[in-house]
């Protein structure tokens, strides 16, 4: 069943109210594509039935999922730049001051997909704090073996580098490899990619000083979100920093995190003793 006008209008109004993002008429396909995984996860075969069920019996969890699914960008370098600006402006200086001069800093890009987030972090560190880069290692993990392989290869298509990667950084850190672009060896050496299923017990890793877990929790139900946040916390240093997607929060999910505003972004830090 295709999305009805009533369902689309309701989703439009909801998304606009919650996020100030306008879905234009004609973007029904976007609603269908983004909401289908959520509908299926709930055992509903099509988007219209899912939307109608939420419309007739609104619940905050489903409404939040809809808004998140429609406002979440696929990974695209610096497109959602604030969590990266926060890294060099606040987080790294704080960590470098707190750690000994020879202590290593570990950053985790969880659900790294093809590695854009991990390399974005690497580029940023090389460009704005080159002296610290030898002390930093970046762990990139993904559920998919293919994505881990892509991250290791560090090769991106023309369409991928066109999305939110500043041109000066493209020319500084990439070379052409046939029809693709390949990230510089120095950056590839900073990133270690491995398979990891966030919904299962996590491998021995870390301890991490900074974790990027963006646009991942939206795909899980509440109990799974709680388990994931607890396991992530166990792999973090007590004074570590966690970044979630712009539409995600620990509030109402796990009360052992403190939300702190960093520039135009928010980070979450473990609360001592919880």
């Amino acid at each position: 069943m295709t999305l009805t006008a009533t369902s689309f209008d309701w989703v439009r109004a909801l998304v606009h109210r919650e996020s100030a993002i306008v879905l234009q008429p004609g973007k029904e396909y976007l609603v269908e594509a983004r909401l289908l995984p959520i509908a299926r996860q709930r055992g509903i075969a099509d988007v219209s039935t899912f939307v109608e069920s939420v419309r007739s019996r609104p619940d905050t969890d489903s409404m939040r999922c809809i808004v998140e699914a429609l406002t979440t960008n696929e990974t695209s370098w610096f497109r959602d730049g604030d969590p990266f600006t926060a890294l060099t402006s606040t987080v790294m200086p704080a960590l470098l001051a707190a750690r000994g001069p020879n202590e290593r800093l570990q950053i985790w890009s969880a659900a790294c997909s093809s590695g854009q987030e991990a390399y974005t972090i690497a580029m940023l560190l090389v460009d704005s704090m080159p002296s610290a880069t030898t002390r930093v290692s970046i762990t990139a993990t993904d559920l998919s073996r293919e994505m881990v392989a892509r991250t290791k290869a560090g090769r991106f298509s023309q369409l991928e580098v066109n999305r939110g990667l500043p041109a000066p950084m493209l020319v500084r850190h990439f070379t052409r490899a046939g029809n693709e672009w390949e990230v510089a060896p120095a950056l590839r050496r900073m990133v270690t990619a491995t398979e990891c299923n966030l919904a299962a017990p996590l491998p021995r890793m870390g301890p991490f000083d900074v974790v990027y877990l963006r646009n991942v929790l939206i795909y899980f139900d509440l109990p799974t979100k709680q388990v994931i946040l607890r396991r992530v916390r166990e792999l973090m240093r007590p004074d570590g920093w966690l970044f979630l997607g712009a539409a995600e929060t620990t509030l109402g999910v796990d009360d052992s995190w403190e939300r702190v505003v960093v520039g135009r972004s928010s980070a979450y830090r473990p609360i001592k003793g919880k």
Binding site: G26, S157, Q158, L159, R176, G178, N179
Partner: protein, 169 residues
């Protein structure tokens, strides 16, 4: 596998311009065209690597590449395919009636996009010419040609070295 021995017979590069089939493979050409279609025509517009046979009234657009490698990148398809491509490129900005000028312009721009990306794979630096539209220049022996089906209609992309055939005819 036979091992290649250096026979001592060497040619200066100026004597033998590189052959296009040594410089670019079918898969690279296909991925360039597919990316152009996915971005400009539509995300789900798959190009199927099958020869289909071009209609009588086929039109071509092409751009020249001048550098270490010299030649043209040619896009050829039927007239009605060209019209549909123009409409899909413009989407909601398409006028009710697509004029001939728009079709030629759209086809030329597609050749420019594909040609620019083909050029970037070839040895450089090279210059890219402005698109031309008309009957396809005859392809010589030095040609890398890819046949594709878009919505069941055929289109061909060929990268033609100027060593293979005279370009201006």
């Amino acid at each position: 596998m036979t091992e290649l021995h250096d026979t001592g017979e060497r040619r200066r590069t100026s004597d033998t311009p590189p052959s296009i089939t040594d410089l670019i493979d079918e898969e690279t050409v296909r991925s360039i065209v597919q990316e152009a279609w996915s971005a400009l025509i539509g995300e789900d517009e798959l190009l199927v690597p099958l020869p289909g046979g071009l209609p009588e009234n086929a039109v071509s657009s092409w751009v020249h590449v001048a550098g270490p490698w010299n030649g043209i990148v040619v896009l050829t398809c039927g007239r009605s395919t060209a019209e549909q491509l123009s409409r899909e490129l413009l989407k909601e900005h398409a006028p009710p009636v697509i004029e001939d000028e728009d079709i030629e312009d759209a086809l030329g721009e597609l050749a420019n996009v594909v040609g620019g990306n083909v050029k970037a794979v070839l040895p450089g630096p090279s210059a890219l010419g402005l698109p031309e539209v008309g009957s396809a220049p005859v392809a010589g022996s030095d040609t890398r040609r890819v046949d594709l089906l878009w919505r069941g209609q055929s289109l061909t992309i060929s990268v033609q070295g100027s060593a293979g055939a005279p370009l201006d005819q």
